[in-house]
Symmetry: C2
Subunit: 353 residues, 2 copies
């Protein structure tokens, strides 16, 4: 256990702060947080959180249960903490009662809007910051992989390889293709930068106006109400917009039909953005060249979903964002935000509610 | 048939030139060449060359044979031509007798050194230009695909997908890895540019000294005799050097063992550069993270090669360079070189013999 509560050596003008870490974090990162100030109190015990299944796993092994004693300790910590590092989805609906001192939650994910609304945290007055940007590079790399995977016809190559068939062919080039990126937050802008660096023409789609430095990071920009105008010339469609009432189901049969034959769809946002039945239909009819899906309408993707066996589908189980160094970067963000929180400066990645 | 021999309307200072095209070329490209001058004579008939199996195929369907009449016409053309567009490997050993007027061959491939030496063309006095650079972008894209394919553990994802298993995991990042690129010609420099644009640290390896503008396109540079020094920190090794006496077998068991565990090998050069038995051994032992092979020691790769079934091997049948627009680009190069040839300027892509 690593519950550090050194008696403050002298009164400081910076108020004491008590932080509870609600998902697994490596000891070195816990120590870094504790070391940010003598009056910082970190409440964390790996036994009280679900064990991670992989580096950077914040959900932990399903079915994890605390013993009654562990549960009492954990609830005691929630009651004492001013700050939560990670958003505990199980207890969040009861936070006004369970966590009366709570002022700020640093989430470890970016797409937390629906969860925050569902649990009523959006009306609780608690400040919430998300992990936007932490996942920008791995998600952009994933989008690049997905485009190359289908542009270079890897599924056909693997079929030939399994059959020991050496048959020459010509390949397509990524350079010169057009990709429409829906959602231009930190991740979308990094996707745009990455694709443009290899010669892809990028059309960015965002509801809100782009600042000049953001506009310079895409070749063209438009708003969601003009999405249908740009789809016919989009060799690829990359979704990285948040899941909101406006984006839910934004890609349906009509939008998919507007894409040119052979187009590639990459979803690194949320499954709810696409009408999955229409997507399966467009893939089955051969209208789409491929779909790379890191998310699904229902997760885990049900075992009987036709998506598993479609030849031009690449499924990655909501993992494209999670890199081995995830917790190191999250800790970097949290430590900087903690400094800002204590000195009254604006926090990074403030969730707009 | 498209054999254009208009009587020259008036004497010009530019000499007549007769060109034979020795592999399949689309009519629009043949017309472009014929249109470069009224005194340019283009000898081409698609019936006299092997039919292509895919766009940009210059070898054509195996087993193609001309009728005796076709053969006589084709040999007549070889005898008349000053310039060959594509190097006819079958007839090349007899060129001094068969093609007495031949002054220049524009090849459609880059790695033609061994063929030129084997056929004695290197001692014939004929000028030979290769297709270097034509394939730079597709090969660089292939190297990028290969790195992402293994860094993102696509083989493991496809295994899970076939089993309908949704199991989250963390992924590696390409950004920050180190790739050693052996061979820094037009293609190697484009590979370096592409990998650096996504944050890969690139070590370039070349025998000859780099010009300042070339040196600026890699993070570090070294010579083949220092290759072993850089292998231990090479997360990826990309081979794109020509096949020469010096490069043959340059990557053997010792070099592979010097790579860090999990390293990725990409061969877009020639199979002979790697000791294939040592490569298979390093893959089987799990020392290497993966190998993307566009070439093999023997091509087509024999059906009983263990490489086909190794889980961490991606085989592309000598096709990564060939894009659908290949012949358009080759024609661009040829038309420019033809202009230079006729005006006595130095040709592009001159093969150093």
């Amino acid at each position: 256990m690593l519950a550090c509560a050194p008696p403050p050596p002298r009164r400081s003008t910076i108020p004491d702060v008590t932080i509870v870490i609600t998902s697994f974090l490596e000891p070195e990162h816990v120590r870094r947080i504790a070391a940010t100030g003598a009056d910082v109190r970190v409440l964390y015990d790996p036994e009280l959180v679900a064990p991670p299944r992989f580096a950077g796993d914040h959900s932990g092994r399903p079915g994890f249960r605390r013993t009654p004693d562990q549960e009492a300790r954990y609830r005691g910590w929630l009651a004492e903490a001013d700050v939560h590092f990670d958003l505990d989805a199980e207890f969040a609906p009861a936070f006004p009662a369970l966590a009366p001192r709570l002022r700020w939650i640093q989430a470890t994910s970016s797409g937390i809007g629906p969860l925050v609304r569902r649990t009523g945290l959006d009306r609780s007055g608690v400040t919430i910051t998300n992990a936007a940007g932490i996942h920008a590079v791995p998600l952009a790399e994933h989008a690049l992989l997905a485009l190359l995977y289908f542009v270079k016809a890897v599924p056909a190559r693997l079929r030939d390889q399994r059959a020991h068939v050496w048959e020459r062919h010509s390949v397509r080039e990524l350079r010169g293709l057009t990709a429409t990126v829906v959602g231009l937050g930190a991740v979308g802008l990094e996707v745009a930068r990455t694709l443009r660096s290899v010669g892809v023409h990028v059309i960015g789609v965002r509801r809100s106006a782009l600042a000049a430095d953001e506009a310079a990071r895409v070749d063209e920009a438009t708003t969601p109400d003009h999405l249908r105008d740009v789809l016919p010339r989009s060799d690829a469609l990359v979704l990285i917009a948040p899941h909101t009432r406006e984006t839910e189901g934004m890609i349906g049969a009509t939008e998919l039909a507007l894409l040119p034959p052979g187009a590639i769809v990459v979803n690194i946002a949320r499954g709810a953005l696409i009408d999955e039945v229409a997507l399966i239909d467009a893939l089955r009819r051969g209208h789409l060249g491929g779909a790379a899906l890191d998310v699904a309408a229902v997760e885990p993707l049900p075992s009987d979903s036709p998506l598993w066996d479609l030849p031009n589908v690449l499924i990655t189980p909501h993992s494209a964002a999670t890199v081995a160094r995830e917790n190191e970067r999250l800790t970097d963000l949290f430590v900087e935000n903690l400094r800002r929180y204590r000195s009254g400066e604006p926090l990074l990645n403030l969730l707009r509610l």
